[in-house]
Symmetry: C2
Subunit: 384 residues, 2 copies
Amino acid sequence: MRDVAVIGVGMTKWGELWEKSLRDIFVETALMAFDDASIDKVDSMYVGSMSSGLFVGQEHIASLLADYLGQANIPSTRVESACASGGLALRLGYLEVASGRSEVVLVGGIEKMTDVSGYEATYALGTAADQEYEGYHGMTFPGLYALIARAHMEKYGTTREQLAMVAVKNHHNGSKNPLAQFPFEITVDSVLNSVMVADPLRVLDCSPITDGAAAVILCPAEMAQKKDKPVVKIAGSGHATDTIALSSRKDITWLEAVYKATQQAYKEADKGPEDIDIIEVHDCFTIAEICVLEALGIVEKGKGGDAVEQGLTSLKGKIPVNTSGGLKAKGHPVGATGVAQAVEICKQLWEEAGERQVKKARVGLAQNMGGSGGSSVIHVLERA
Amino acid sequence: MRDVAVIGVGMTKWGELWEKSLRDIFVETALMAFDDASIDKVDSMYVGSMSSGLFVGQEHIASLLADYLGQANIPSTRVESACASGGLALRLGYLEVASGRSEVVLVGGIEKMTDVSGYEATYALGTAADQEYEGYHGMTFPGLYALIARAHMEKYGTTREQLAMVAVKNHHNGSKNPLAQFPFEITVDSVLNSVMVADPLRVLDCSPITDGAAAVILCPAEMAQKKDKPVVKIAGSGHATDTIALSSRKDITWLEAVYKATQQAYKEADKGPEDIDIIEVHDCFTIAEICVLEALGIVEKGKGGDAVEQGLTSLKGKIPVNTSGGLKAKGHPVGATGVAQAVEICKQLWEEAGERQVKKARVGLAQNMGGSGGSSVIHVLERA
């Protein structure tokens, strides 16, 4: 297996993009990545999308998007693992280049979520849960994560304010990201007084519904050395699953898929939590960021809330988390999120992150997650 | 890249399985493959499914199915390329074992299509076409393939009777396959007098709507030598795309994605059309089988209809095609079809095909296709 590098990234402004279709958004984003990498064709592509079928009535999008990108005839593969679809696409693209089967591969993620009603979007997102059990009983994702939050508060003493601080931190970072859907600051008070969604989670604890795409171009690390950017390698990759239903887990505050995938990625990268400078985590709800920090081994079990309160994960903290604004402020077009996490890590490692640049960052970790933790994909990226 | 073998297969009776859910069908099928391979766990799995979102309101099925199969925590990946989803899952599983990343991998395909109305199923299948152009103008797949059929008849003199002979041949083979949805013979007259769907295609030119799954277990060829079955290797794999819309193609009678994917697979296997003993092709409509034979290089352009009429592809012909009954008689649960093609080739190469056994078959080819040829995945399998 040979070393693989990222040589270009693309991301456009995220939000409610009613004037653009799925294919428009994807092609615009992919062409930005082509420009950034100074290429005009790829050998193969992978696309992460959770539910283009339910959101826009279009499947077979790997072929569609290769075609509209002017790359018809190349192998093009769509993968789906709910909200971890983008990270999974990145993993498969990485494995394809690492194994020597392709030289230059496009990895994209896309979701066009605002062409349907809020009810339909909630239904589509709910198909990531166990529909015959959780869905049948009326559970949607805010409810599932609310159960996790209640259990975490009960078991570890995590406070309502600590949950709010996750959102406040991510909006602070997002206010420095011009591509974010909601690039503005919020306060703990505004979170605590926002509309209740599923007790204890309020609307400002929840990531939004978003249209958007993200793209990266991968190639052998040797080829990347000829480019004018610092070489950023994918040092490790991990992928694991867990029971899809929360009710099947021994401890709903613990994300076993995240833990297992992280251990794989650390091992492959020959790194541990102490080596990581920056992290993008899957903060679909504020409680998710807290649980993920624990599963990554950044803090001990139960200490995720304290870490946020003490500033460990803030932009000027020891390990900045979600410098992009995270899913909360940047937006969460579900299939695109995992790829966008890698885009942010690359921008940071290339020192192209503008006002939110973290100094001397050399190693970054991207943590992408499906459902209530039923799947997770982890990548460790390193500046050579 | 190391050699990869199939060490077990699973397939249950296909049809309208109203008493079973998607997860029931998949788990039953996968456990058959586990038994056939004498294993009880795998390192990783790939699942092909076209639209579990639109058909049963469930995405995130790679995690769901790993969980219900008792394999929670393993990496599990769903891929989608419309009706080529199963073939694509097989390709990714093959690449994972070939690259040395995993030892034992489950590849499954599944579609549960009969829980929705015929209208909804036609809509879901239609999402494999270009929805903004073809779908918007009311095109569904029978219409698209009818255009191809008309063009082929006009350009090459292919006859209405030759189309019917494809269905007659495949039902003859299917009558010897107890797992087929429609295991009975039909006649040219019955095809010609069946209900018109989209001129010139009648209902007996069309593959049915089906519930079903198929599974194979892959491992390094070296490990397969310790089993009691003859070693069947995946000798070559190919994957290509084409424009998703028919209107973007220079010649709608020519399947460029099939041609390109086949050339890759032949090259990797160091084989040509003259080396192939048996073939499973994607006969979603009778005209498709005729066009595919041409793109595979089995016959010259325009000669697909004559080949069928002259018996070249019949069970006792020079190159038997669709010994399983094909999509037409066996059924077409879209995400499962590509995997089921590999199941049939393995059964033939292992000499486990019962009444439809082809003598001395050593090399088989499986051709899976998405949409109106917007994607295709080819595998060449060889008995060592």
